[in-house]
């Protein structure tokens, strides 16, 4: 029984779905960011698997850039969480409704 590329793609689909469900059902903004990280990692698995399938290093380069974007996203997102929590303690994603005019 040999591991084929499809195995990695199916595993990636499962991990992506777990992350998407978590993003939808959790309300803590920090945990929501962690679920976004799960989805990004699922995509990374796909990139590396397809790169190995096609004998191309481009897949690994794409993962490299995804890593940079993930780091930037976390930095800005956590800065926003800190800024919001400083003004309103215990803010959850539902409190966005407060922005209603």
């Amino acid at each position: 029984m040999e591991v084929s590329t499809e195995w990695y793609l199916v595993l990636s689909a499962v991990l992506f779905s777990i992350g998407a469900v978590g993003l939808l059902i959790r309300r803590n903004p920090l945990v929501m960011f962690m679920c976004v990280e799960l989805m990004l990692n699922a995509v990374n698995i796909t990139f590396v698997a397809m790169g190995a399938e096609l004998n191309d290093v481009g897949g690994q380069i794409a993962v490299f850039f995804v890593l940079v974007v993930a780091a930037v996203e976390v930095v800005v997102g956590l800065a926003l969480v800190v800024a919001i929590n400083r003004r309103r303690l215990g803010a959850t994603a539902d409190d966005v409704s407060v922005l209603r005019g």
């Binding site: 029984m1 040999e2 591991v3 195995w7 990695y8 199916v10 595993l11 689909a13 499962v14 991990l15 992506f16 779905s17 777990i18 992350g19 998407a20 978590g22 939808l24 059902i25 959790r26 803590n28 920090l30 945990v31 962690m34 679920c35 990280e37 799960l38 990692n41 990374n44 590396v48 790169g51 190995a52 399938e53 004998n55 191309d56 290093v57 481009g58 690994q60 380069i61 993962v63 490299f64 850039f65 890593l67 940079v68 974007v69 993930a70 780091a71 930037v72 976390v74 930095v75 800005v76 956590l78 800065a79 969480v81 800190v82 800024a83 929590n85 400083r86 003004r87 303690l89 539902d94």
Partner: protein
Amino acid sequence: MTGQTITFIIGALIVLTGGIGVVASKNPVHSALFLVQTLMGVALLFIVQEAHFLAAVQVVVYAGAIVILFLFVIMLLGVDKAEEWQLKEPIAGQQPLALVVGAALLGLGVVTTIIASDGLTGQVRGVGEKALTSDYTDIERIGRVLFSDYALSFEITAGLLTIAVIAAVVLTRSVAADDLLEDLEPDSMDVPAAAPFGSNDSDLVTSVSDTRHGDDDADEEVG
């Protein structure tokens, strides 16, 4: 079963249990630790596919930097309390609907994989330096391609990181809030008008004013 298959199954189990743990943990700290487990599993899968450099970067950048940043913010904000996410549900039926959407995404991904796997002809393959079968080591290959074909993208990521650092500084500075505090209470610190800026600030102000009251009382008694 070959060693590769066994390693893949172990890695997949680590990744999936970690992912479910991230979503199902009520405590954000537990979620962060399960996230570390998932990232380590992904690094293991990278090693199975001979992407050794990415596996190292995955551990150093993700598990070493990003998760630590998460934990740091959790501790800083003191939000490491269990979230009652099953009790309060402001939008009725949101969670069952989310599960349906997740199942749909999963079905879409699996079906697409099964359909598209027939289309993998292997005719479009990396050539020259880009080929994984070239004579270079993993890091050499990535470095050569990254600094030649993807040089412009690499420079843009430098700009992106700079923007992110500036954004983090601008978003989290407290100068504006302090100015507003002074505008609101020019004379006395007794009025708890600092409440809109978060209970942390108001606690600080209250405790300072309390101390002052205590000092005044003591002075009067002595006088």
